[in-house]
Amino acid sequence: MSKQLLFSLMFPILLILSIDVYADDQERARNSMVRQQIQARGIGHQATLDAMRNVPRHLYVPFPQRRNAYDDRPLPIGYGQTISQPYIVAFMTEIVDPKPDDKMLEIGTGSGYQAAVLAEIIEEVYTIEIIRPLGEQAKRILDVQYDNVYVKIADGYHGWAEHAPFDAIVVTAAAEYIPPPLVEQLKEGGRMIIPVGSPFQVQQLMLVEKGKDGEISTRSLMPVRFVPFERER
């Protein structure tokens, strides 16, 4: 009898312990990710670093990919989409220079991870996903974690006029053109960031800035700088 009691008590204890250990492991992995992949590459924006430490990235990747969640690479999330490499997410977040009272728009919710990182820092995040299953999945996770993220399943071309203008717009689902409504919904002095590349490799990040007079300029940023040749020593 005592043996049975012992075993029936042991199981939930072990379960709780394993969850605890798992959670600790994930936290360690997350901290290591911030240290080695983000800080080591020059990201110094404290709010971004704190957000990357807080957001449980593994919750935003499909279950088969969980063990890779904190790897230094993008991961597939289905429907031809990816969750960006952690460094790229941090890079983009730092570039848009989020402040606590900011309101930002994201086009292409995808996994929801970028929205979560922004939600850690700013007041309101509006995020649009055109692919319904992805949007619904992201919304489920984000609704549990945050009350300042608003997910809409729609064509991002039209932006989200009711809540415009936005301090910044992150266009993770980049297309061959930048929709005019998005430019319109960007505040003067605001920034738009667009990663350009194939599904698993970001070639460059395009920063679109709207000047005080409404003039638009772009700047391309290279997360990885190419040196053209290696001379023989």
Binding site: Q65, D72, R73, P74, L75, P76, G78, Y79, G80, I130, I131, R132, D155, Y157, A174, A175, E176, Y177, I178, P179, P180, V183, E184, V196, G197, S198, P199, F200, Q201, Q203, Q204, M206, V208, E215, I216, S217, T218, R219, S220, L221, M222, V224, R225, F226, V227, P228, F229, E230
Partner: protein
């Protein structure tokens, strides 16, 4: 006594061999197309190269178990043919099951994909292995009549290629294997014997039922989630409006209210971006269904850098080359030209636009000022006298976000220096050539384009190319213009005005100031301008120093989109990391991987039989050299001829079919003729010499002859082609059967090994030829083919050295 008479008892076998051979070739081609639809062309290559090693493996098995297989051949061969047919029918469908569904993009991010890839290899390996084993058994069993059997194999293969074309242009691609497999099943039935008849018929029944069920399915082929078709179908309310098979590939038209077209649109555009139906060929984006509105006062492309040549001055005579995207054509007509010639090789697309989508496109493709040429651009340029065009528009290069090097090994004859030379000749005095490219990083396409334009100008005697070249850069595109005469002050003023109104930056103008280059779009890596200036000033060092290939493409190396420099792989890996590097230049890497894996497997298949053959005292060097050389030489020549004749005829599909079929049928006739000749070392050496001399002639004369007659009437070109391809192929077709017959007398146990060597080496040859062509050019590939046949010739010239017989002790030795 005729060539085939005396084999009446084997007529059924010979006929079924031909039918089965047709099925194998047709299946190989069908598989290439199907996998290209699901994944990409180079990946299809990778899978099929392993599958084709079934030929090598069959030779290995034959070498190790020859006697048993020959003893069972009467019932085994028909059953193998039927098994092969059954797996031809079902293998593609098996790989589409979730469990076996593979995605090449995931190969570098999910290691479990390697296992799935291995499973795909195995699934496709089975039909080729069983099919090749059937053929190999027949060859070995009837090695003394190899000429007839090889003739049937080659003739059947040639016809199989044509049969594939017939099918692929008329039925849905996923149904093609179900038809082709039945050929093999019938081939097996023709040779049905009583022994194991029940087993055989059971497999036949399974195959027929499978074929029937698959033919009835209307399911669409599911493609990689990373292909542009799949991404378009993820959009809300996306549906396929139109689908048609064609010899150019499967054409699908998708509509969705979220599909818009405005490449690198100006950031000061405030209008509505038009929704457009997208056209896909083999699940890759091809173009849009344009809409031509004669009343419209502007076109969306007026707000992109592509408008550059049009705002410089008026254009009346327009030529658009490989203008798959309908939008540039509609854009051209917005400027009311007097005449527009458009070259679109994909005639099925043209027909579709003239019929199903005529009204929607505003009858653009039926415009009275439009003349359509359904041939390759290069062929058009070479065959027409100078037309005095005001503008020649080339298709947009690259893809938004980069194509990951997927097009690296696509021959782009319209982008070679020789092509630009011809374009220049077609220009009016003030005419321009224009080309737009998506901006990539690291910079590759834009640098290569500029290098090509500068070199073209220099080749045409222009002392200062900078006076003839203008370029405009937006956030996403660069458009270049090369003008035959120097740019006028008015044109330069128009360019500046247009640029500032659209938030574009001049990249190249004769009097450009540095600060003008980044008024609106700042580049992250400023060295881009340094490279541009280096090329403009004619600094040749950049071509050897730069980490990517940006030297202009030529007809000998027409791979414009191939930028990867293998010697820089380590350096690139250090910068981008192993996980990211494949997505920079995936296409070329796939060919390298294909070559490595094929070579490793082929070596196993070649070496394994040696375990058995070590008992034989007879020399094996001759067998390895001769049949290995034939395997490489034949495939190298085939690849060269395909490349050359695609350029010659201007119809890729027709040209490939013509070359392969002519080669195989002519070789088949040669094989048949060889049966009448003694299979001695002298005879074999003689024909080896003949072929070597012909190929040497190719090396020296093929290009000049083809260049000189490219503008001739089609009937003359066909005759020239038949002579150029047919005569050497006839003699080449003799060499394999002569060698086999010689070997049958020399050491019959080596015959299966020879079959395996030839099969294995042929597979390696395809990717090897590609690699050599990219790195060194087609002429080097042809040179190696000459060397190979020289080796074959020399092997028999010095046969005592290479086919060494063991020393037999005689009384004189005591």
């Amino acid at each position: 006594m005729g060539l085939i008479s005396g084999h009446k008892g084997n007529i059924r076998q010979i006929f079924s061999l031909g039918l089965h051979s047709a099925a194998i070739i047709a299946f190989q081609l069908a598989l290439m197309q199907l996998i290209s639809i699901v994944q990409w062309h180079h990946f299809a290559y990778m899978i099929i190269s392993v599958a084709m090693l079934g030929f090598g493996a069959s030779g290995t098995l034959l070498a190790l178990a020859r006697e048993r297989l020959i003893r069972s051949s009467s019932w085994l061969v028909p059953i193998l043919m039927t098994i092969s047919g059954f797996f031809m029918i079902v293998s593609f469908e098996i790989t589409r099951l979730d469990f076996f569904s593979f995605d090449v993009f995931l190969l570098f991010v999910d290691r479990s994909q390697f296992l799935i890839l291995a499973a795909n290899y195995l699934i496709y390996f089975v039909p080729f292995f069983s099919g090749a084993l059937a053929i190999g058994i027949l060859f070995i069993k009837h090695s003394r009549q190899i000429g007839t059997y090889y003739f049937s194999n080659l003739l059947g293969s040639g016809i199989g290629g044509l049969f594939f074309l017939l099918l692929f242009g008329n039925i849905m691609p996923q149904h093609v294997p179900a038809v082709i497999g039945l050929l093999s099943v019938v081939a097996g039935l023709i040779s049905l014997v009583k022994r194991k008849a029940l087993l055989h018929l059971a497999i036949v029944l399974l195959a027929v039922v499978s074929s029937f069920l698959l033919m009835r399915t209307q399911d669409r082929i599911s493609v990689s989630q990373y292909k542009s078709l799949a991404r378009a179908l993820n959009l809300p309310d996306a549906e396929i409006m139109h689908r048609q098979p064609s010899i150019h590939g499967l054409i699908e038209v998708v509509s969705s209210p979220a599909l818009r077209f405005a490449p690198a649109l100006s950031l000061n555009f405030t209008g509505e971006v038009p929704v457009k139906k997208n056209v896909f060929v083999n699940a890759d984006f091809f173009g849009v269904v344009p809409h031509f509105d004669v009343k419209a006062d502007s076109h969306i492309l007026d707000h992109t850098t592509q408008a550059l040549p049009w705002i410089m001055q008026g254009r009346n005579k327009v030529l658009m080359l490989n203008a798959g995207e309908g939008a540039p054509l509609a854009h051209a007509f917005a400027y009311n030209p007097e005449r527009v010639d458009v070259v679109i090789p994909n005639s099925s697309f043209v027909e579709m636009m003239q019929q199903e989508f005529a009204e929607e496109s505003g009858n653009l493709f039926l415009h009275e000022e439009l003349q359509i040429y359904a041939i390759e651009a290069r062929n058009f340029l070479a065959s027409k006298p100078p037309q005095g065009y005001d503008i020649i528009v080339l298709p947009q290069q690259g893809t938004f976000g980069g194509a990951a090097g997927i097009n690296a090994l696509r021959e782009s004859y319209e982008m070679t220096l020789e092509s630009f030379d011809l374009m220049w000749n077609h220009l009016d005095q003030d005419g321009v050539i224009t080309i737009t490219t998506w901006i990539d990083y690291p910079s590759r396409a834009s640098l290569k384009i500029l290098a090509t334009l500068v070199q073209t100008a220099k080749n045409k005697g222009v002392a200062d190319p900078s006076a003839h070249i203008a370029a405009l850069r937006s956030w996403g595109n660069v458009t270049f213009v090369l003008k035959k005469s120097p740019l006028s002050p008015e044109e330069i003023k128009n360019i500046r005005g247009f640029a500032s109104s659209k938030f574009f930056d001049p990249l190249l103008l004769p009097d450009l100031q540095k600060e003008e280059r980044q008024q609106f779009n700042v580049v992250g890596d400023q060295s881009f301008f340094q490279y541009i200036d280096q090329i403009m000033t004619g600094d040749e060092e950049i071509f050897s120093d730069y980490g990517f290939v940006i030297r202009p493409a030529t007809d000998d190396k027409p791979y414009f989109s191939q930028f990867l420099r293998l010697s820089q792989l380590r350096h690139l890996n250090e910068i981008f990391g192993g996980d990211q590097l494949p997505f920079l230049e995936l296409g070329y890497l796939i060919v390298v991987i294909t070559l490595v894996q094929s070579t490793l497997l082929a070596l196993i298949f070649i070496i394994l039989p040696l375990l058995r053959l070590r008992k034989s005292q007879k020399g094996k060097t001759g067998t390895l050299l001769y049949f290995g050389a034939l395997g490489i030489g034949y495939m190298f020549v085939e690849i060269i001829l395909i490349q050359r004749f695609v350029l010659y005829f201007g119809h890729p599909v027709f040209s490939i079919a013509a070359v392969i079929s002519t080669m195989l049928i002519a070789s088949g006739m040669g094989s048949l003729t060889s049966g009448k000749l003694p299979a001695t070392a002298k005879t074999t050496a003689f024909f080896g010499l003949i072929v070597t001399l012909f190929l040497t002639g190719y090396l020296l004369l093929l290009t000049p002859v083809m260049q000189g007659t490219i503008a001739s009437p089609v009937s003359l070109k066909i005759l020239i082609s038949l002579l150029l391809i047919g005569i050497p192929s006839f003699f080449k077709g003799m060499m394999f059967p002569l060698g086999i017959r010689y070997l049958s007398d020399y050491d019959v146990s080596q015959v299966p090994w020879a079959w395996g060597i030839n099969g294995s080496v042929s597979v390696i040859s395809t990717s090897l030829a590609m690699l050599i062509a990219v790195e060194a050019g087609f002429m080097v590939v042809m040179g190696i083919a000459v060397v190979c046949y020289s080796i074959a010739f020399l092997t028999f010239l010095f046969h005592n050295l290479f086919f060494r017989k063991p020393h037999v002790m005689t009384g004189l030795d005591l």
